[in-house]
């Protein structure tokens, strides 16, 4: 069984083979061939991950760490970085999530992307993403992690802008890449400091040295190791803030929903965005040495969880609600790992991967169904003039299949989608016995034990979570259809619904992996697990039920037409408008940073470059010409004559040197 560990690299190689086959030969095959290659590549990676998992389980717990060097990657002077893999419980957990959820989503996407002219390209990108994400989680050093880190960012860029004819989607893609790069800027500096501190970028030696040495000599100064590690962990966290969409860099993720829905599920919910949580957990040794950094991680996570949850309440786009929900849940995970609850954070990462992927895919099924409904009703409907709305918010675009105001009553038209969506929503809301209940409660139990203030913030966020999911359920599935499209919506085919069922199953049972009491997952990844806290569990369950009930009371049958204002507008007008506008954060960023950068660029390009720098050069040239006015006849404009003059001068100088020597 151990021999499998020597071949773990195949998990990365299979998707690469898949993407190369599809890239170079895919245009000769029909959709079916492309789909088979991509899904088989993903499935093969899943099989490898399962085998690696089994092989690790077969070893005694303290021997579940295997490293394999593929080849020496960078050797430049003292900088030596191998391309090497690290197989341990943490990496294999991530491998299983990535390939497991990834394979399900690959299959779903075969149905979702059916008929798209760039079907082939889509699956090339998807396989590239799998390979990149596996590099990220399997690398044995920070630089290999960083390759994966940036490559998943590239895949995110390519897939957000997949329908690039729409400039707003292309712009969303660029925004995602640039905002992530800002995070990566901090991350890079962290890498540089890691290297000068430890002389290596490999996890094992770094963690060992960090724990063992009390001081470190940097630039001739002897510094306490704790302080240096604090700076390192803060810098690394900047990267995590970008990748995992935390305050203040979360603004790219809602826009990332411009990508096809399977992408939102896989990359922008289940896997890539959790990379920051993974990185902090991977660096647990360092963060535990640096209370300042881990405290910051916890607070940023908690505040992000709350802020994003409040924004989600004010959204009408089905995917934007889920996007802000993802940001909020990532905040939960970040808060957990910041508090040292690595088990809870990773546990929530796993369960969230199931139920959030489920929610996105089910949302995709809703969108798909509505699009069908629009086609079906388009024949009977002309351009419909909507009555002016009393709402301070713009009315929905009647052709937007993602606007929940255009939905309603879909539970009858799409029963399977409805039931799976409900399971996902209740799991997210944290109702027992669904997976989200166990993992979220573990976070809350950890928080109450270590920092009650953070527990309070997270509990309020959890209340909002249940509320916005309740609101969403009523708006999408209950009441009467508010549009012709919703009335004619169709259930999706089995290639899409079977993945929904699989993920729904996962969302129900995934809590078992760290069931309170035996805590098998905690034993596996060898981090502490918070004991089950009945008070916390009861509080959060009751709050979730209250929130769902409140959503029911507020939204039941209140939106009858698409133009009806949101009921919350009447009770809390200012707050709702604020949440709708995401508290104006994005807009302020745009005004300060984006427009500021445009102004700076214009200033440097015109007055500075053309005026000062080039102006000086040309000014000197002009001055020379003017003072040489008397010698005008020599200025023939022929460069060869100038060159001749230069040569004469040179000869004269040489002669002078020779004579004087």
């Amino acid at each position: 069984m151990d021999a499998v560990l020597d071949y773990a690299f195949l998990a990365i190689l299979f998707p690469i083979i898949g993407l190369l086959l599809n890239a170079f030969l895919g245009d000769r095959w029909r959709e079916r061939g492309v789909a088979w290659v991509a899904c088989l590549a993903s499935g093969a990676a899943l099989v490898v991950s399962l085998l690696v998992f089994a092989a690790l389980l077969g070893r005694p717990p303290e021997a579940r760490l295997v490293e394999r060097t593929l080849y020496p990657w960078i050797s430049a002077g003292a900088l030596q970085v191998p391309f090497a893999l690290r197989l341990d419980p943490l990496s294999v957990t991530m491998m299983l999530v990535v390939t497991g959820v990834g394979t399900i989503i690959h299959i779903y996407a075969v149905g979702y992307m059916h008929g798209d002219p760039r079907f082939q390209r889509f699956f090339v990108y998807m396989n590239l993403f799998l390979a990149s994400m596996l590099v990220l989680v399997m690398g044995n050093n920070y630089l290999v992690l960083f390759i994966g880190w940036e490559l998943v960012g590239l895949c995110s860029y390519l897939l957000i802008g997949f329908w690039f004819e729409d400039l707003s989607k292309a712009a969303a893609a660029r925004k995602a890449f640039v905002v992530n790069r800002i995070g990566d800027f901090g991350f890079l500096l962290g890498l540089f400091l890691l290297f000068v501190t430890f002389g290596t970028l490999e996890f094992g030696p770094i963690f060992e040295m960090a724990e063992q040495s009390a001081t470190v000599v940097l630039a001739g100064l002897t510094l306490p190791m704790r302080d240096v590690v604090t700076i390192i962990t803060l810098l690394l966290f900047v990267g995590a803030v970008g990748k995992s969409a935390q305050i203040p860099l979360y603004v790219w993720l809602p826009d990332a929903m411009a990508g096809p829905t399977p992408v939102s599920a896989l990359i922008h919910a289940a896997t890539m965005v959790t990379a920051g949580v993974y990185m902090v957990t991977r660096s647990a040794v360092l963060y535990e040495m640096a209370p300042l950094s881990s405290g910051l991680v916890a607070w940023v996570g908690a505040l992000t969880a709350l802020l994003a949850a409040t924004i989600a309440v004010g959204q009408f786009d089905i995917k934007r609600v889920l996007a802000y929900s993802t940001i909020s849940q990532l905040g939960f995970m970040m808060a957990a790992v910041g508090l040292g609850g690595y088990t809870a954070g990773m546990f929530h990462l796993v369960t969230h991967a199931f139920f959030k992927a489920l929610l996105f895919l089910a949302a995709g099924s809703v969108i798909h169904g509505l699009q069908h409904g629009m086609h079906a009703s388009a024949a009977s409907q002309g351009a419909e003039a909507f009555p002016a709305s009393a709402s301070p918010l713009p009315p929905p675009d009647p052709h937007d299949p993602q606007d929940m105001r255009n939905m309603g009553g879909l539970r009858e038209r799409q029963p399977l989608t409805f039931w799976t969506y409900t399971i996902g929503a209740l799991a997210l809301a944290g109702l027992p016995p669904l997976a989200g209940f166990f993992s979220k409660d573990e976070i809350l139990a950890d928080a109450l034990e270590r920092n009650p203030a953070i527990w309070l913030v997270l509990t309020v966020a959890a209340f909002f979570t249940a509320f916005y999911m309740g609101r969403q359920l009523w708006l999408i599935f209950f009441g009467r259809p508010r549009t012709e499209a919703a009335a004619h919506a169709e259930e999706s085919g089995p290639v899409m619904t079977i993945p929904l069922i699989l993920l729904a199953l996962g969302s129900v049972v995934a809590g078992l992996i760290n069931f309170p009491g035996p805590h098998p997952f905690a034993d596996f990844i060898r981090h502490h697990a918070a004991p089950f806290n009945p008070t916390v569990a009861l509080t959060s369950t009751v709050l979730a039920l209250i929130a769902l009930g409140l959503a029911y009371r507020i939204y039941r049958d209140r939106l009858r037409a698409t133009t009806d204002p949101d009921p919350l507008l009447q009770t809390a007008r200012g707050l709702f408008v604020g949440a709708y506008n995401a508290w104006y954060v994005d807009r302020s960023y745009h005004r300060v940073f984006v427009q500021g950068f445009y102004a700076l660029a214009a200033f440097l390009a015109r007055p500075v470059e053309a005026g000062v720098i080039d102006g000086t050069v040309n000014g000197v040239a002009r001055l020379v010409r003017r003072t040489a006015g008397q010698l005008r006849r020599l200025q023939t404009g022929y460069v060869r004559q100038y060159a001749l003059a230069v040569m004469v001068g040179v000869v004269a100088i040489v002669a002078w040197f020779l004579l004087s020597a």
């Binding site: 002077g77 490559l151 590239l154 400039l167 800027f185 890498l191 390009a605 040197f657």
Partner: protein, 501 residues
């Protein structure tokens, strides 16, 4: 002295020159093919240099030395070490690519054009192999003439202004270098680099060292170009024909950075240490400034030109980190920039030949019209913005790590320079978006769908793309041979640290 392989690589293009001289002006196809085959053959022969290169040797290999002007102690003296090895290969490769890329773009005065291209190649290789300073200077200045003519004859509307500016600006810089070379030669009685290095005790630690450093530095800084001496570059690039830009960015700029590494660092080690914060400071300003100004451009070629200011800033930062990591990164980044920026100019040229404009506002949505072209461009763009897995990342990361670990530079340099990585993503992805994404903003673009890439357009890009991946995934192929030579330079720098001013 064995087989004169190095001289063969240097002067082989002259065979093509001879043949073309005997061809008639109208035999354009024959002229093109002779030029291309000669340069391609030169590239193949230059591969023998890699094959026969001894990577355990720090000093010069393939050395040839013969008296040239004995009265002045000037020799024909050439040799190769792990640093110049890659620059010679870059030159032979990029030259062949530039010639092939001109097949359809150059239709006037074909004979003169290819003659000049081949002569230019001789001079450029000469610069990288010359070990006699006087010989170096001759090759160095000789590159100016063909380039001046290439811009001045086959360039755009403001070609004369750009060509004269290019010529005079760089000439002014090199005159100081000539004075410094003459001073060194007269001081020591030899112009040979190894002799000068052996006798550097004469001036190291004196005021003269600083002046000599500056005299060389001005010539090289203008060539690089180091901010703020860069303003000739955008004009030259915008007006130059595609192949001219490819050579300018790919090779000629490297002569400046190579000069710093070959002459300034080992000959004036103490001055290098003293000046490192200033030079690295200008490099950092260049990285940020070039990137921001690049963003403000509408002409895509000008954007690429300013991006060179930014990229070459990284190379300079790596060199003046004055340690092995930084310098190895810098040498690799010279190659990377030659490949990536060369490819960007080729890509712009492909578009310009079809649409006769480079205004990004008149494109948009090109990826849908030319899928393969769009994908290839994206790969080059990603290489240029330093995506891990591709070549640019290895160079930039190594340089920044070297600068961070440097004894002569503070962490602030790296922190500011690393922000250039963010800016690169902004200006390059914005460029990609304006040209390739969204909807077409000019109906004339529709015809692009019927003009797929031609064989020679693909043929020039494919080798570059292969190298982009190769360097990104297995940089040790390139780091390996340069290791010892870079260590030797670092040895010179470190040795002087003990002596006071």
């Amino acid at each position: 002295m064995g087989f004169p392989l190095l001289s063969l690589v240097t002067f082989l293009p002259l065979v093509g020159v001879l043949i073309i001289l005997f061809l008639r002006r109208e035999q354009e196809a024959a002229i093109r093919w002779v030029a291309f085959l000669t340069s391609a053959l030169t590239f193949l022969v230059s591969l023998l240099l890699v094959v026969n290169f001894d990577r355990t040797e720090a000093g010069f290999q393939f050395v040839e030395r013969a008296a040239w002007i004995p009265a002045w102690g000037i020799d024909y003296f050439v040799g190769l070490d792990g640093i110049s090895l890659w620059l010679v290969l870059l030159t032979t490769l990029i030259s062949a690519i530039a010639i092939l890329s001109s097949f359809t773009a150059i239709t006037e005065r074909v004979k003169a054009y290819y003659l000049l291209m081949l002569l230019l190649q001789v001079a450029m290789v000469g610069v990288f192999v010359a070990l006699d300073l006087f010989l170096f200077y001759v090759f160095w200045e000789f590159t100016l003439v063909p380039m001046f003519l290439l811009i001045g004859i086959w360039g755009g509307p403001r070609r004369v202004y750009a060509a004269v500016k290019f010529f005079l600006y760089t000439l002014v810089g090199s005159i100081l270098m000539l004075l410094a070379i003459l001073y060194l030669g007269l001081q020591t009685g030899s112009f040979a680099l190894p002799d000068l290095m052996a006798q550097s005790g004469r001036w190291v630690g004196t005021a003269a060292e600083l002046w000599l450093f500056l005299a060389f530095a001005v010539a090289f800084a203008i060539k690089v170009p180091l901010w703020p001496f860069h303003s000739w570059l955008p004009d030259a690039h915008v007006e130059a024909p595609t192949a001219g830009s490819v050579i300018l960015a790919g090779i000629l700029l490297k002569m400046g950075t190579y000069g710093f590494l070959r002459f300034n660092l080992p000959l004036f080690p103490q001055a290098s240490r003293t000046m490192a914060p200033i030079v690295a400071g200008l490099a950092v300003v260049g990285i940020l400034y070039g990137a921001v100004v690049s963003f403000a451009q509408d002409d895509v070629k000008k954007l690429v030109a300013f991006s060179s200011v930014s990229h070459l800033g990284f190379v300079m930062l790596g060199l003046f980190a004055l340690n092995g990591i930084g310098i190895q990164g810098a040498v690799l980044q010279m190659v990377n920039h030659g490949l990536s920026t060369g490819a960007l100019f080729l890509i712009v040229g492909i578009l310009y030949e079809r649409r006769h404009t480079r205004d990004m506002d008149r494109f948009g949505g090109l990826w849908a019209l030319m899928p393969l072209y769009g994908t290839l461009t994206l790969i080059v763009v990603l290489s240029s913005l330093g995506l891990p897995g591709l070549n640019g990342f290895i160079g930039e990361f190594t340089i920044l790590q070297g600068a961070f670990a440097s004894e002569v530079l503070g962490w602030g340099y790296t922190a500011l320079a690393a922000f250039g990585v963010v800016l690169a993503a902004i200006y390059l992805l914005t460029m990609f978006q304006r040209v390739f994404l969204g909807q077409s903003r000019d109906p004339a673009n529709a015809e692009l769908a019927h003009q797929p890439l031609r064989w020679h357009e693909l043929a020039v890009l494919v080798p570059i793309l292969v190298l982009i991946f190769w360097i990104g995934l297995h940089p040790n192929t390139f780091f390996g041979p340069m290791q010892r030579s870079v260590e030797a330079v670092v040895g010179f720098l470190g040795g002087s640290a003990l002596a006071g001013w």
